[in-house]
């Protein structure tokens, strides 16, 4: 909705035009709603498989992915579905993936947020062995550099991943070859049940960047624009030949590791603090209200639309057919042509 407010000094500090800010808010609200509803369906026993909540971390995800171009590639984790939705994944097909249907992005070969849409939105299909996609992001970035174009690769992982050897290998490799890549760590303070002090011994993750010879910054994941601006700056650096950067975005994982985990190891006071003070959705709503970019009515309208879209997507998923049982034995080798038939279905549709 357009507003009548005249441009003020405050408005000139805004990093994006109003339309983009509103779009960002809509995405934040969609991600929050999706997360809450899907968890409810999981608890009701209506959602098969697993559910990994990203609630409380939408600022990191939406802020990060909003700084990417459509042709940049994104290498996320199972916690980062909000980043993939921001990148442009279709809600209908996301839901079809959760229900194991043929119209899911991976044609039923994987479920939940282990999702990806390489040929559409340039997102890597998530794998569990985090940070397994970090080295792969190096390779995509290498290809962009080799081609001499200005695309970049961006990978997200959690704080837990920074304890793993591949995280260090990939950061080092990206610095050695000055690859156009951005490393984002969603520090939600817990690796499953392990808090930060069990994972690493430095005060921050961002400071590790020094050891690899790249810039490192730490931002508040509760503030989507703070994340966005840090990532945008790193993306521009990478695009312009300035090499890799590391961004640590701090938030809190509001829910358990997965739907089955009540997260009793988390101090209630910590959770309350983050839900009260660092809620990225609420904080951004309040900011846009105070800036006059949106009204309460606007927010209500967006909420209603999101709820309606969710119902449509849920119905789409349940109406989508299951894959044929025999499909289980196809598509391992390119030779059988499984993935290049029916290009309208999910997954790979281009031959090499």
């Amino acid at each position: 909705m357009a507003t009548d407010v005249d441009p003020s000094a405050e408005q000139q500090d805004r990093p994006l035009p109003d339309e983009r800010l509103k779009e960002m808010l809509g995405t934040l609200m969609l991600c929050r709603y999706f997360d809450e509803r899907m968890e409810a369906l999981y608890r009701q026993g209506r959602l098969p498989g697993a559910f990994y909540s990203g609630r409380g971390q939408e600022g990191t995800h939406v802020g990060t992915a909003s700084a990417l171009r459509a042709d940049d590639s994104l290498f996320p984790t199972h916690r980062d579905l909000s980043a993939q939705l921001t990148k442009g994944l279709d809600l209908n097909r996301v839901m079809a993936q959760y229900w194991g249907r043929i119209d899911g992005y991976l044609r039923g070969r994987d479920g939940n947020s282990h999702i990806g849409d390489w040929y559409g939105n340039r997102t890597f299909a998530v794998m569990s062995h985090l940070p397994i996609a970090y080295p792969v992001a190096c390779g995509a970035a290498l290809a962009y550099k080799r081609a001499g174009d200005d695309r970049i690769a961006l990978a997200i992982c959690g704080d837990g991943s920074t304890s793993n050897g591949r995280w260090h290998e990939a950061l080092n490799m990206s610095a050695v070859f000055q690859l156009p890549v951005v490393w984002v760590v969603n520090n939600n303070q817990f690796a499953y049940s392990a808090p930060n002090p069990v994972e690493f011994h430095t005060a921050t993750i961002a400071e590790k960047a020094v050891a690899y010879g790249m810039p490192g910054v730490r931002v508040d994941g509760g503030e989507v624009l703070e994340v966005f601006e840090a990532v945008r700056s790193a993306v521009e650096r990478a695009r312009n030949g300035g090499g890799p950067s590391l961004i640590e975005s701090v938030s809190l994982r509001w829910r358990g590791h997965a739907g089955h985990d009540p997260a009793k190891y988390m101090a209630p006071e910590l959770l309350e603090e983050y839900m009260t003070l660092h809620d990225p959705v609420k904080n951004f709503q309040e900011k846009l209200l105070s800036w006059g970019v949106v009204t309460k009515d606007d927010i209500e309208t967006v909420s209603e639309q999101i709820a309606a879209d969710f119902e449509v997507a849920h119905a789409f998923a349940l109406a989508s057919p299951f894959p044929e049982p025999g499909d289980a034995f196809l598509g391992n080798w390119t030779d059988d042509g499984y993935w290049t038939r029916e290009p309208g279905r999910g997954g790979g549709t281009e031959s090499a």
């Binding site: 070969r109 062995h129 080295p135 792969v136 490799m173 499984y338 997954g347």
Partner: protein, 349 residues
């Protein structure tokens, strides 16, 4: 010897050739055949590039890539840090964006340092998400050169189990050249294991046709016989051929089937030979328990039981580290005399 930056003149129709060259008789060693395959594919398709440790100015631990960086430059002959997980991951990511990487491992032993990226990403990604990954991982495998536990491994069973990699273990220079060219042209991931005992030991006339290839997944009968079949691959093919000559003098006619590709396995060629000879000796250098030959023996039992006149015999090293001392390593690896003894027993059964 100092590297000579001058690129050698036309030989195979490409205006240049790898530093390592054929002998005056025109024969190519196994190592030269591998180098020629890489060179020709690099010339043919600029999407092909190599990455690995010390492959550029140094020319590789075994000098397979000597002379390449002068011809193709550092972008296509990329020296990397020692980081095997990331070497594999980079190969995957660049393949997703249309390049055709060939990653060299200094020894196949170090493929396990990239195990997760190989088995979890490279092997499974196409099945999960439909993105072709034309990646070749290549490196020297196998024992017999007194290189002990960490430079002698036969890793093919570990990676065949992953299910998404085509795995080649050639025994001859022509097969090495033709299979490597096929692997580079294939849209699927592959692992190309060069037996280091063969690098400079075996040579033969090898095609200079730039489009000479050998099909992946096809075994070859390297010696015709009627009394029994030795199914094998890699360096053991040569031991089997030597044993077959000795057996011939004793009146036992042994057929030697060289698998060439161990995954996917060419069951039909194996079974055709068993139908002919009715006796099978499965000889392999990977470990006896759950090695490649275990699967061959199972396939024969399952699909050719009615043709067998004797139980299938397996001859392979135990599941132990490859030892160093000549007495230990020779006892560990199947020798020609062991093959003869096993064949005698099989023929007499």
């Amino acid at each position: 010897m100092m590297a000579n930056p001058k690129v050698e003149g036309a030989a195979a129709g490409h205006g240049a050739e790898p530093r390592g060259k054929r002998g005056e008789d025109g024969q190519a060693t196994y190592l030269i055949a591998v180098a020629e395959a890489l060179w020709e594919e690099m010339e043919r398709d600029e999407r092909v590039y190599m990455l690995g440790e010390d492959i550029g100015g140094y020319g590789g631990a075994f000098k397979v890539t000597e002379g390449f960086i002068e011809r193709f430059g550092g972008d296509r002959v990329m020296d990397t840090p020692i980081a095997e997980e990331t070497i594999v991951g980079m190969a995957v990511g660049s393949a997703m964006e249309g390049l055709r990487p060939v990653a060299e491992f200094q020894y196949a032993d170090f493929m396990t340092s990239g195990f997760d990226e190989i088995t979890t990403v490279l092997s499974r990604y196409h099945y999960r998400a439909g993105v072709p990954l034309p990646v070749v991982l290549r490196g020297p495998s196998g024992g017999g050169v007194r290189a002990s536990s960490f430079h002698s491994i036969n890793p093919e069973p570990w990676f065949a189990y992953a299910g998404g990699l085509k795995i080649m273990c050639p025994a001859f220079p022509s097969d090495a050249k033709g299979l490597l060219k096929s692997a580079i042209r294939d849209d699927n991931p592959s692992m190309f294991l060069e037996h280091k005992w063969l690098y400079r030991r075996i040579k033969e006339q090898v095609s200079t046709d730039p489009d000479f290839t050998v099909p992946i997944g096809k075994a070859a009968v390297k010696r015709e016989g009627t009394d029994l079949t030795i199914v094998t691959y890699g360096a053991m093919v040569h031991k089997a051929l030597e044993a077959a000559d000795a057996l011939e003098e004793k009146g036992v006619s042994a057929e030697v089937v060289d698998l060439r590709t161990v995954y996917p396995l060419d069951e039909d060629t194996v079974l055709r030979s068993i139908e002919k000879t009715s006796r099978a000796l499965v000889l392999y250098e990977s470990y006896k328990f759950l090695g490649i030959g275990s699967e061959v023996a199972a396939i024969i039992a399952e699909r050719a039981f009615e043709h067998l006149d004797a139980p299938v015999i397996r001859l392979a090293p135990p599941n132990l580290p490859v030892p160093f001392s000549p007495t230990l390593e020779d006892a560990f690896l199947p020798q020609v005399a062991d093959i003869e003894a096993a064949a005698d027993k099989l023929a007499a059964w």
